[in-house]
Subunit: 302 residues, 2 copies
Amino acid sequence: MIDPVYLNTPMYRCDALGRQLGCTVSIKLETANPVRSFKARGTELVTSLLTEQGRTAVVCASAGNLGQALAWSGGRRGLDVTVVASVRAPVAKLDRIRALGADLELVDGDFEMARARAVHIAQQRGIRLLEDSLDIETCEGAATIGLELAESTFDAVLIALGGGALATGVGYVVKTSAPGAEVICVQPAGAPALTRSWRERRVVTTESTDTIADGVAGRFPIPEVLDDLLVVADDAVLVRESSIITGMRLLLEHTGLVVEPSAALGVAAVLEDRERFAGRHVVTVICGSNVNPDAYQRWVHR
Amino acid sequence: MIDPVYLNTPMYRCDALGRQLGCTVSIKLETANPVRSFKARGTELVTSLLTEQGRTAVVCASAGNLGQALAWSGGRRGLDVTVVASVRAPVAKLDRIRALGADLELVDGDFEMARARAVHIAQQRGIRLLEDSLDIETCEGAATIGLELAESTFDAVLIALGGGALATGVGYVVKTSAPGAEVICVQPAGAPALTRSWRERRVVTTESTDTIADGVAGRFPIPEVLDDLLVVADDAVLVRESSIITGMRLLLEHTGLVVEPSAALGVAAVLEDRERFAGRHVVTVICGSNVNPDAYQRWVHR
C-alpha cells in the first residue's frame, strides 16, 4: 500500500561522523523523499484504507510533517485533506502543507490545542480523524522502517520520541526480530512528557514545552502509546538543546545532511553519554529535514 | 559485485524545487552512502575483478571522489590502494581518502598532472592503473544508475560532465531503454574541454580550467570517451559559475541537500534555459556531496 518512493531508504555507515562520536554510526535516512520525513509510510497506509472504505475526507492535527505526508498521500488518492497546526509551526512546514493542496487551519496555541481542534472538526463534519501515534496505521507505517533495519545488525537504535509512533513502530519490530539490540528513545529535556511517563510508568503531562525540536514537542502522552512504549523501549533519555544543535552541526559537517532538530536527537544522545556508546554500532533514524532555512542557519552557524 | 549500499538510490520528485525552476524536477540521489558520491558503483566493480584476478594493488588519479571510492572498495577487499591527487583538491576529499586507508600522493599541479603521475606509478610498480572514464568498469558502474533511472519515465536527464564516465554510462542505458528521453551533459564554462570536443566532434584541449566544480575540471578529453559521448549525448551545454552557485543554493533551500558544485550543474542548466525545460520532467543526478564546509558556506550564504 505504500508508494515505493518511501520504502527501502538508504542505510549506511558514516565513518567521519562515527569518528567524532567515538562509535560506529549508521544512518537510516528518511528524508530523501517528496515530503522529507518518514511520516508518509503511515499516511500511505491510512489513505489506502480510507479509499478502500469509500471515505472521501480526513483531518489530522500535525506539528507539520504528518500534515505534509497526509496531504501528499490523500491528494494523490483524491481525498479531501484538512490539517490543523499551530501558528508557531515552522513556516517551511506550513507552506508545504498548503502547496500539497490540503486545507490548513491554524490555531493560536501549541500542538495539543491543534489536536483538540482536529477532534472537533472530525466530529462536526463526520470525517475520519487521523491521530498520530494512537491510530495503529501511523505506528505500522513507522514499523516498516524497523523491517528494513532488521536486515542489518547493530547494537542500539536511537529513535526520536514525540507522540510515540516512530518509537513504538520501529521498537516493536526491532525487539521482535533483533532482541539483542537496544531500543533507545530520545526526547528534548524541554519536552519531556512521554519520557517522564515511561520512567514513572504512568501518564505524566507538562504545562508547556520549550525546545527547538518542534516535531516532538507534545505535552499530553497518549495512554495506549505509553503502554506500548513500556513494552518495546529499553530506555528513554532526555537531551539538552545545545546537544541537539551540536548534533545538527555534526550531521551537516560530516554527512552533508540538513536535518530538522528532531532528527538530531539520536546524535545528541550519543554526545551526552559517549561512554555508553563507545565502540558500539548505533543506528540513528534521520526522521525529517523540514526546517526553516533562516532558523537552521542561526542554530548551526552561530 | 556492487555492495547494495550503493544501489537502488533514492529517486524522487522535488515539487518545491520544481516550482522554482518551472518544470517537474526529480532527483537521483547518489550521495547517501559511505563515500558520498556515485563513484563507488565503478570501484566496487573494478576491485571485485582485481580480487578475482589475484591482483593486490591499484593506483588511480582522482579529483577526490574516485579516490575515496577506490579506497573504500579496495580497503574492504584487502587491496593496496594508491591515490594521486592535486594539492588543490578540496581538503574534505583528501582527508577522507587518507581516513579510508589509501596512500595519498599529492602533485603540485592540476588533475591532468595527477593523471600523468598515476601512469608513472603504475608503470614503476607494475600495478593496475584505474583510469576514470577510459576504463570500462567506471562507465559500467555509472551505467547502473541508468538501469535504475530506466524504471521511471521522464523527458530529459541532466548529467554532470567531467571525464565522461557518468555521462556515457548513464547515457548509454537511457538511450537504449528510454530513447525518447534527452541525454543532456552539463559542464562549467570554466572547464569546457569535453563539451567543446563534443560540439566539434574532435578532441579539443584547454590550457587551464577555472571553476569551483573541482570534480569535473579536466583539460584533456580521452578520445575513446568522446567517441562514446558522440553516440549517447543529445546535447552538451556549458553553464556559468554564478548558475552553479544558485543551483547549490536552490538545492539546499528546497531539498535540504548539501551538494558539491558538480552536483548542481543540472539545476544550473535549467536556470540558464528555463524555456527549454518549461513544463517538462527533468531528472538530475546528484552525483556528489564532498565539499569543504567553509567554501560551501562562502558560496551559498554570501
